[in-house]
């Protein structure tokens, strides 16, 4: 019985290591896309994807630390990334984020 538990924990550790490695690789590529992105729309999409990667890092950290306290953090990162993406999209589309009156 204990050998099965130990094997499962080892599998979880290996999986977490692979996931962290993949996410950090993805973050490096996204930072490259933000710096040299040809248009501003590319940068906006890359920023949104970085927010999603941050949520994934927080979730993996919750598994690694064996805690449930990070679930609120994941929801909060998702909300703030959504708001930022909406603001950037509206700026690219219209040039003003909070307009004076409804059209």
């Amino acid at each position: 019985m204990t050998s099965i538990l130990a094997t499962t924990e080892q599998i979880i550790d290996i999986t977490l290591f692979i996931c962290f490695f993949g996410i950090s690789l993805s973050l490096v590529l996204l930072v490259y896309r933000i710096i040299v992105g040809p248009t501003n729309a590319d940068r906006a999409v890359a920023l949104d994807t970085i927010g999603i990667n941050l949520m994934a890092v927080a979730a993996l950290m919750a598994i690694y630390l064996l805690t449930t306290k990070l679930n609120d953090v994941i929801l909060l990162i998702g909300i703030l990334a959504f708001l930022g993406t909406v603001a950037i999209a509206k700026y690219l589309e219209k040039g003003v984020i909070i307009d004076r009156d409804i059209d």
């Binding site: 990070l70 909060l76 959504f82 708001l83 603001a87 984020i97 409804i102």
Partner: protein, 141 residues
């Protein structure tokens, strides 16, 4: 004049703003024992209000929420200072903290702490400051 089609944004805003306000109340009440507190609650509430501003424009929201957010700042600061001064009534040092367990009909036995009142002051201050800053930047010509 070029008119963007933001029907999807306006429809989802009316749903997401309610979720954000409920999450803000949860964060405010869950503070100091788990992640959360007055500061994050105020930030999430201001995020909901800013989202409504982005979707519906300034004049519409000024009609719907007739609150000058600049007056929210001194109210929050007064609540925070009053919580600190209230500890002098019980002859304990400034900003002392206490808690107790109470039986509430629906929720059962819950823990109530006086840090909650201080958190409400922080909540109102952060809400007023954040919305004032963002609206003043947006109004700049």
């Amino acid at each position: 004049m070029y008119k963007p089609n933001d029907l999807i944004l306006r429809t989802t805003t009316s749903l997401i703003a309610f979720i954000l306000l409920g999450f803000a109340v949860y964060l405010l009440l869950a503070g100091h024992n788990s992640p959360g507190g007055g500061f994050v609650g105020g930030l999430v509430t201001s995020a909901a209000v800013i989202l409504m501003y982005m979707a519906y424009g300034m004049e519409t929201i000024a009609k719907i929420i007739p609150v000058n957010f600049r007056t929210v700042i001194p109210v929050g600061l007064l609540i925070a200072v009053g919580t600190g001064l209230g500890s002098f009534v019980f002859d304990v040092p400034f900003l002392s903290h206490t808690f107790g367990y109470f039986n509430v009909p629906i929720f059962g036995k819950i823990e109530l702490a006086t840090a909650m009142l201080f958190d409400i002051g922080v909540y109102l201050t952060v809400l007023g400051v954040t919305i004032t800053i963002i609206l003043n930047i947006a109004n700049d010509q």
